[in-house]
Symmetry: C2
Subunit: 241 residues, 2 copies
Amino acid sequence: MAGTTKNETTDIAGMGYLNGIAIDAVIFGFHDNQLKVLLIAYKRTQLFGLPGGFIKDDEDVNAAALRVVTERTGLTDIYLDQFYVFGDYARYDPAPFKTIMKASGYDAPDEHWLLKRFISIGYYALVDFTKVTPTPAAIFDSCEWYDLNNMPSLLQDHTQIVEKALAALRNSLDDRLTGFNLLPRDFTMGELQLLYETVLGKKLLRPAFQRKMLGLGILERMDKKWTGGAHKAPYLYRFKK
Amino acid sequence: MAGTTKNETTDIAGMGYLNGIAIDAVIFGFHDNQLKVLLIAYKRTQLFGLPGGFIKDDEDVNAAALRVVTERTGLTDIYLDQFYVFGDYARYDPAPFKTIMKASGYDAPDEHWLLKRFISIGYYALVDFTKVTPTPAAIFDSCEWYDLNNMPSLLQDHTQIVEKALAALRNSLDDRLTGFNLLPRDFTMGELQLLYETVLGKKLLRPAFQRKMLGLGILERMDKKWTGGAHKAPYLYRFKK
């Protein structure tokens, strides 16, 4: 939560934003069989967290989530999906947000809107990390990619949010949209399998994987890939429109 | 939204509830190959909608959803799942809620908390409708089961919420929990197939269905069902613990 608009003054005053509801974005980056997650560090606090933000009074919630992700990545054409609402009372802890504001020179009173209970709507995205320009906001020290198994401690319940997002991403793998922007228009079964293996974090058996993928009815088989040596050329596939 | 607590005065004043966030519950009832949905009618308004409610200041969001469903059904042991957050600005329309309050004798000023923009967290449940005691709140004329293809017009975006919940329910069918409370502990493949066919709204081919179910690895095969005529007895199955 917090730290997403360009205008910090507006952010701190809370004018024009819905109170009590935040967005947290788990942006997974994939490239060359590596999976990473985008994290931000709040200025002079050593506090790490997920990119996030708030919803303007007249803004669609999904549009707010896209805005948050665009501000941090520079990408506008992103497959972004809600995966869970984090609404336990136990996640309510104003301490880190008091620290964050104090580190930016603002000694917030206890009744400040950012120190009240927030429910957070979790979104996840899967993007090609080489196409992203990680962009910190003014109140961040950094906005960077981290290996999933080498993340710093995150504030509040953000570590659990990442875990839940990863589970949702893994569950959604058969949804054709997930891989849409990560593979070339035409790809081989081997390339698709590598994407699956990286996200799932395990090796898959080729024949069973191919059978399952073809059984889903989401792939269209194109001509064979021309490799020079004709009989071993793999087929190319495309996601069906 | 609205109409869920036993104490209408508290409800209307909004004391002790989070502002701007509601819960809507799509409670699907299944029995004997019929699928229904539980709807409420607000008193003297002809306005129909989903059972819903608000979140207490110190209450977990999931606990609030369970409370809402328990109040309307009498059931406490329910498989209940979040499926989507409805947060478009376009859904903001105070008119029906003004009508609802007026019909109960309360002429709400425009700045009343119930007339402000609400984001709604959608939950769905699938229950055996013969086990439910539909229970209207004081501000309802009725709380009743309706056939999915014979629903009245619903207020706000509640019709789309039902449609989205049905899509989520269909997607989740392979999750073993969905059928957990609807089938006896031991059931035949035929009984499981009838449940799937009813929820999906279409006939399935027996061999493919059986192959798919067994392939999911969620079923444990028990002894054959004793029917008298031994060689045609079907196997019984159980969901794996």
